[in-house]
Structures are given as C-alpha cells and as structure tokens.
Symmetry: C2
Subunit: 171 residues, 2 copies
C-alpha cells in the first residue's frame, strides 16, 4: 500500500490510497470470500440459512452479480455484464465449483479492467447500476463493504454448521 | 469524498481518498454499528449467540476495545487507553446504555484526535497494538473491516431473533 510519490502530493489534503493499493485491498477481500465459499459443505452452501436469510450460494451470487457488471460500470459506465449474463438476481449454478469458476472469472476481469480506469474516473459521480448516485470511489468501497458484510454472515452459517471459517486476517 | 486539490496530485499514481474522506467513511460505519447495538433487545444483547460465537455485547466491546486504544496508537503511537481502561478483552458493562455511552465516547475521541494525525503518519509502518506490523492506513482499514465483519454477525443474530436490522446502506 506504499506509494512512490508521496512527496508530489499536496500535504494539506493528504492522499492515502492510490488505485493500485485499492485493487490489492479489494482482491485480498475477494480471496478471503473465495476461501469462505470453499469452506462450505456442498449441500449446506445451497440449503443452509438462519432467520429466513438467503443461503450462502445466494449471497455469493449477489456478490458475483454486483461485481461483474459493477467493474464494467466503474471502468466504462456500462453497468451490465453479458457473457455470461450476470446481475444481482442471477441464480447460482448447480455446483459450488461452477460458482467458484464464476468467481475466478470476475477476479480476472477486475484485473483486466482496472488498469483501464482513468485517474479522474474515481471522483466522477454516476448512478451505479443506473440507480445509486455516488462517486465511483464510493461505489467501489460500497461493493467491498457489502462483500465483507455478506461474507461475515457466511461465517455465522459455518460456525452454526460446526465448520471453522477461514482466518479473517489472512488474505 | 471529493477532494479540492486533485489537480495537484500526481496522475500516474492517482490518489483516491484523503484523510477527511476516510474519517467520514469510518464514522458512517460507526453510526450503523451503533444502530445495530440499539436494535438488540437488552437481554439478547448479552445472552444470544449462534454456533458458540461471542454475544453481540462481547463483539461490540471488542470493537470498542480495539478502537479506543487504536485511535491513540494511530495518532500518537501509544496503543493504550486508560480512562476508562479499554482493551480488546474489556468486559461489557451491565447495561446496553453504558455500552452505547462508551461507544459515543470513542466516537468523540476519534473526532478529537483525527485532525492531530500528521499527513505522513498514514504511510508509516508500525506494530499496531505492539503486535501487528502494518502501515497506519492499513491498520485503520483493518479496524473498519473488522467492525463491518462483526456487525454483520450481529445482523444474523437479529434475524434469528426476528428483529429487522438497520438498513446496511444508511449511515
């Protein structure tokens, strides 16, 4: 998370995070969520829930279905994802391995698009998914926070199932 | 989260977040966690848990007991908090109102100390709490992520108790 050009930045409004560091932060969280999916017994991934909440398969698909069109919107302003069609309501494929394959596709897509995001883009205000006006930076932070939030719910499911979740601090 | 001096910052390493914006982000999450504590029925706050996990009183006290010495360490390098004595293992006081009072004390303390953090401080590497070497920025992000994580576990407890949690997107 170090930058090489601190001295060039205005000290009266110190900048803390650059685009490279934000990508590292996001992908670190994504690796931890992937481990959380892996930790689920196949059956419980699709069937277990608490208090009428969604299954972890559904929560994982929400993350996938927001992140795939999300990174396209972040980069290009086009908040859709076509191949395969993915949005927040896309149902989970029938095996955990297929969900993990979608996960990895999105991870690689983020890596591909990230360097194409212009420096000014992060401060632009735009309606994310055509619905939620915010700066692009805040939309990215929201996607990360939403993933941490749902992953933590998966941790409770795992504990309730007697399965040790992955260590939170290991990314 | 806008900055007024984007033009002064090096475009080859665009800076995304300044200290003011990070404070807004953190305090927004803290307001949501406070609402989550408020949503708990008094008794269940202290007694309810799932899968052998800690109660939400204990999780809330972990957040308080990390954040209070944490902000002192972030600002001054002294990772302790003395009045009242607070660390990660401080037990919860006997009423939810007293926990909320501690919460508010820490919120105000963050507001007081934040402007005293020097611009260079965020990129310094230091062992947080004497134990976890990281940049100060990463330690702050870790504290926020840890709070989101534990708060989300509280959301599952509330759902299991039939209580509607506060809206995640409202800060």
């Amino acid at each position: 998370m170090e930058t090489n050009n601190i001295a060039n930045e205005a000290t009266f409004s110190p900048s803390l995070l650059n685009a490279d560091a934000l990508l590292v932060h996001w992908q670190g969280h994504r690796r931890l969520t992937r481990k959380t999916i892996e930790a689920f017994p196949e059956e419980h991934f699709y069937t277990f829930s608490i208090g009428g909440m969604r299954t972890f398969a559904q929560l994982s698909m929400e993350i996938i279905g927001l992140t795939a069109p999300g990174i396209r919107g972040i980069a290009f302003g086009d908040w859709t994802f076509g191949e395969p069609a993915l949005d927040y309501s896309t149902p989970a494929p029938p095996t955990k391995q297929e969900v993990l394959n979608l996960w990895d596709l999105v991870t690689e897509y983020i890596e591909t698009l990230w360097p194409q995001i212009s420096a000014d883009r992060f401060q632009e205000t735009e309606a994310a998914f055509g619905m939620y006006p915010n700066t692009i930076l805040n939309t990215i932070l929201y996607l990360i926070d939403n993933e941490i939030h749902h992953r933590a719910q998966g941790y409770v499911y795992l504990r309730a199932l007697g399965v040790e979740p992955p260590a939170f601090w290991e990314r």
